[in-house]
Symmetry: C2
Subunit: 255 residues, 2 copies
DNA sequence: CGAGCCGTTCTTCAGAGCAGAACGGATAAA
DNA sequence: TTTATCCGTTCTGCTCTGAAGAACGGCTCG
């Protein structure tokens, strides 16, 4: 997984650190502050900034630097290559409108679940998912859906490599218990998450298995437990998640 | 603008070329093909791939490489720092739903207009805008809105640095004529674009001037000329664009 | 069975890229 | 007004990175 590269390119690591610092900074950053933050000399920081600027990923406002909007294109171009996203986006918007809750599309990547699209709830609130950020598979409904759709061998391999961290008290950290739950999820075709990632947030999700070359994914709804509960959650919402998933699957098979 | 950096970091340029190649590639790419494409030796390509992989921006599927979804986070984190985006996103969704057409938020960056958010039309069609891609300001309605809201000095400076390319026959390439049009746009508070960027595509946009630290932006609707025309375009759609813009402005001032 | 590909590793050496010093303009303090 | 400081940029010289190309080993196809 994280085998250190034998011949790493240090300059690349520095440039990425510079770029990430700028992306996370509020407003612009000066050369000196940036050099301190990244841990290189001022001249080196300056060289990397100029290079990133020539490439278009960094802009200069006065004497200060900032990440440019070009950073968006990398992600958008990557997202454009994901067929599940194209098939699901609009349906997730509709599902969000119909339920008033946040809807998400997660994709499997390197033993992790990655939100690729998040349609926000009516009230604008949604869990602090950052699209593209890898999340452990065992802490949320889409992640568990994805896991449940894999072969037993693959589940074991992933669980072996994964540290079953517990963001809340509700998180399942026992592999055997998790495997039992995954079996139930596979039988039901639907996964629930009750505060396992964030206190008070529940989720429902259904797997979207691989369809000739598309990625293994899952589609879900999540929101506060005081709105999502009881029969409304387990029948109404669940039904809508299942029918949306079905419809995305049909579209994917059609192409 | 494009003054070559005096001490460019070549390794960074190579890594970015590698990453962009992967992002634009359909599916995965092998080391040899990638090395050829970027113009470096196989071992160098391999070193950069390993480094980018360790940083999380590249993943390996079997013996092939691909851009990872992590590329999304750079853009999303940048976007999260743009207050105009947060204020306008939901309203652009609503405007798209109300009109059935594509709505966009453009922001000024380095003499160019950059789409930061695009809400697609009902029929799923939208101009081939890639979020984050810089577009000339004189070819579309949001760009012209942005220009019109600047001071005369600043307009002159930008026009001097800009090559007034003409994607279609309808594009205005004469600076004087453009300045006259910008004056009209400033007086009306609304800009139109009639096939100046893409044949058969018209646009309406209104400027969203700088509000304490927010970026200079514009908000627009665009779609095919056979749907958007006549009084429907000039009164109905235009009115909705103006009221949405007003509402975003109010929200921005409120914070 | 062997020829050819492809990803990975190794080795060697030029020069890329590092740190630190020096420059120069701007701003603040005396 | 003068002086001190700070910050972005440029310069310089040394070192070790990162480049190329060859070699390795596994795989596939003829």
């Amino acid at each position: 997984m994280t085998d250190e590269p034998r011949y790493a390119v240090e300059a690349t690591e520095t440039s990425l650190a510079v770029l990430e610092t700028l992306v996370d900074a509020e407003g612009t950053v000066g050369v000196t502050a940036l050099a301190d933050h990244v841990g290189v000399s001022k001249s080196v920081a300056h060289n990397h900034l100029s290079t990133l600027r020539a490439a278009g990923y960094v802009i200069k406002r006065g004497e200060q630097y900032d990440a440019s909007l070009r950073t968006l294109t990398l992600g958008e171009r990557t997202r454009a290559g994901i067929d599940v996203h194209d098939a699901a986006k609009r349906k997730l918007d509709n599902l969000a409108a119909a339920t008033g809750e946040t809807t998400t599309l997660f994709v499997l990547e390197e033993d992790a679940g990655v939100p690729v699209y998040v349609a926000e709830a009516d009230d604008g609130w949604s869990p602090p998912f950052v699209e593209g950020e890898r999340l452990p598979l065992h802490v949320n409904a889409p992640g568990k859906s994805i896991l449940s759709s894999l072969s037993a061998d693959r589940i074991d391999a992933i669980l072996e490599r994964t540290d079953l961290i517990a963001p809340t008290d509700a998180t399942t950290t026992d592999p055997d218990e998790l495997v039992r739950e995954l079996r139930r999820i596979r039988d039901d075709g639907i996964a629930f998450c009750r505060g396992e990632q964030y206190e008070g947030v529940v989720g429902v999700a259904a797997p979207l298995p691989e369809i000739d070359g598309s990625r293994i994914a899952a589609l879900g709804v999540c929101g506060p437990v005081d709105r999502l509960n009881g029969r409304y959650l387990e029948e109404d919402i669940t039904g809508q998640v299942l029918s949306t998933t079905k419809s995305v699957q049909v579209d994917l098979t059609a192409d």
